[in-house]
């Protein structure tokens, strides 16, 4: 039912709210010199745990930047202020929120929303208003193939995770001939499974099973029995923490054994390792960053070890790639603004485009499409309850171990 009077009063209420918001904005700006960064996040809804990670990363950076007096713009210090907004895990709403932040909240620069899908949608708005946007968690190449000038991202394409994995397995486990791939039917987990299929075929492996499972699947026993009957030496599963914990438990239940078991993206998270316990042993994975990396950065955090320490001090937990990527996005904006010596969006955008610097996150250089192309994502394996980096060689911590029981 449609009530015209209700609609009118809702409309006027929102106008009032907007006016109040604008009022607040100008009073903050006049009280102190600040740079405002917009961060649309899925604070509520199914993606809420991811929003928490990104928020922790941004907040840590803002805190560090402000502790050092702020961002230096041509000799004058500006405080960092991050404007958060909840788009309720709803992609169309992330587009609205982005537009609102630029037009009403008057943010200077934008962080991207979570994941590839929402980042792609919201980047259209940033492009329209010529606001530089740094996406902390968008990896799919479809996000960057629009050739936008103002969009940059800190995740390399998905194949940079699967290719080194395949090469490592080929080098260390010559008798792995058959691979079974099981993917969550969702944008990123499916995309990475498809990359894995390509990479396996290119390296002469036989893909004996490739299937998707529905989001919210409560039981995988039939699927796993079928995979077991095909005897693959490599089982490759994608999904999020909950799916992977369940599948791993059911693999143990079904007494499934394989030379190599790879799971993406759970094992990079500490909560996966804790909850999977003994069954996490020898599970391999890959991610865009790892706390064991040792980069000596020029950014505000400096070394990777320093970032990890600051993060642990503030949140009492081990940072993972999602935390780190959010923090490095802030640090990159800071470097670009200081180098440009101005808050002019085009000047900052140009500094981002020609950036070539080492950070705690790794070497950062963006390709012509805006996606980072300098990063070598690490391959790691859970050994004795700890993630151990196997690749790249420069930061290798241990040898690849075969056999997952």
């Amino acid at each position: 039912m449609f009530h015209p009077r209700l609609a009118v009063s809702a409309f006027s209420a929102s106008l009032l709210l907007a006016a109040a918001g604008l009022g607040a904005t100008s009073s903050v700006a006049s009280a102190q010199d600040v740079i405002r960064f917009g961060a649309p996040l899925p604070i509520t809804g199914p993606l809420a745990p991811e929003a928490v990670k990104q928020q922790q990363g941004y907040d840590l950076w803002a805190e560090q930047a402000n502790k050092a007096g702020g961002i230096d713009v041509g000799g004058k210090k500006y405080k960092v202020e991050i404007v958060y907004s909840d788009y309720q895990s709803n992609t169309p709403r992330s587009v609205q929120t982005t537009e609102q932040m630029i037009t009403q909240d008057k943010v200077n620069f934008m962080f991207g929303p979570f994941g590839s899908g929402a980042a792609k949608a919201a980047s259209t708005i940033a492009e329209k208003y010529k606001v530089p946007m740094l996406a902390a968690t968008a990896s799919s190449s479809q996000v960057y193939d629009q050739n936008y000038k103002y969009l940059f991202g800190t995740f390399t394409p998905n194949d940079t995770l699967t290719t080194p994995l395949t090469q490592l397995v080929k080098a260390k486990a010559a008798d792995v001939k058959k691979i079974a791939i099981l993917a969550r039917n969702d944008l990123f987990p499916l995309a990475i499974a498809q990359e894995m299929e390509k990479s396996a075929k290119a390296n002469g492996l036989e893909v004996v099973y490739f299937e998707k499972y529905a989001i919210n699947t409560l039981d995988h026993s039939a699927t796993l029995s079928q995979i077991k009957s095909l005897n693959p030496q490599w089982v490759f599963v994608t999904g999020y923490t909950n799916d992977l914990l369940l599948i791993r438990k059911q693999m143990v239940d079904q007494q499934m054994k394989a030379g190599v078991v790879t799971m993406i993206a759970g094992p990079a998270y500490q909560e996966f390792i804790e909850s999977a316990g003994q069954s996490a042993e020898n599970i391999s994975s890959a991610s865009w960053w790892h706390p064991a990396e040792q980069y000596n950065g020029k950014d505000i955090f400096g070394t990777t070890a320093n970032f990890v320490k600051l993060f642990k001090d503030k949140y009492k937990l081990e940072p993972d790639y999602a935390h780190a990527s959010a923090a490095v996005c802030g640090a990159l904006f800071q470097m670009a603004i200081e180098k440009a010596g101005s808050l002019d969006r085009d000047k900052v955008r140009d500094e981002l485009a020609k950036m070539d610097v080492v950070t705690f996150w790794g070497p950062v250089k963006f390709g012509a499409n805006g996606q980072i192309n300098s990063l070598e994502p690490p391959v790691f394996q859970i050994q004795a309850g700890k993630p151990v980096v196997l690749f790249p060689d420069a930061i290798k911590q241990g040898e690849f171990k075969l056999g997952v029981n």
Binding site: A48, T217, D219, S221, A222, S225, N242, Q254, Q255, S275
Partner: protein, 288 residues
Amino acid sequence: MLAIQVLINALVLGCLYACIAIGFSLVWGVLNVINLIHGSFIVLGAYLAWGAYNSLGLSPWYALLIAAPAFFVFGYLLQRLLLNRVITAPVLVTLTLTFGLDLILNNAMIYYFKADYRKLILNPPTGSISIFDVVVPVDRLIATASALALTFLLYLLLRRSKVGRAIVAVRLDRDAAVLMGVDVKSIYAIAFGLGAALAGCAGVLMALIFPISPLTSSAYLGKAFVVCVLGGLGSVSGALAGGILLALVEGVGSVYLGPAHAVTLSFVLLIIFLVVRPQGLLGRKGFE
């Protein structure tokens, strides 16, 4: 061999589904309330088992003994203090009330326990038994046995005890029960309490099997709903039949059509049942 393994998996999973659904079916059958808080009760039961094991070292089998009375009291009070006020209102009102209560309980759990996924890991692990290459995990077997035992207990209670007969009487004909001197309000509260107790026990058993997070409550509720429609309301054995049918369809579907279509298939089955046999496999008017 794969076919037998899939069949066994489905039988065991079917009993778990029945365990998830039985309390939901009781409340729906007796009170005509679609209890949307059921999924969150299960999750809360799982947290109880997890907490008891990790902080007190209490095995989940003992946690069952705590969960059953605790959830009964919780459910009883909820019905007495809140739901009984609107129980005679149209079904949408009770639905909305349980929906609201579910939002509160679920968000409270997200607040206290966080949305992170946790796992109850028994030490030593229970492992699996294998007979002629067919593998059955022991924890699922125990959960299945417990589910069957709970179902049987409920059956006995409804069949033999005075309270049980009163519950069935209220279900069959509320007005006649009132005339016979049955205190309907307290019977409603007892039935809701029993439903909550069954959900809490189901949660303790599911903690052994599935990862624990407030976010999983909707998955449990969805399964309970499908199982009730398939098996039919108003019979204890209906939940069992519905659970096994659902698990079989999902298992066979995921092997022959791929796991992505297993869920689709189960909902197609649900629609067919709603059209062709809305009373379900074993649905009856009385609850016994």
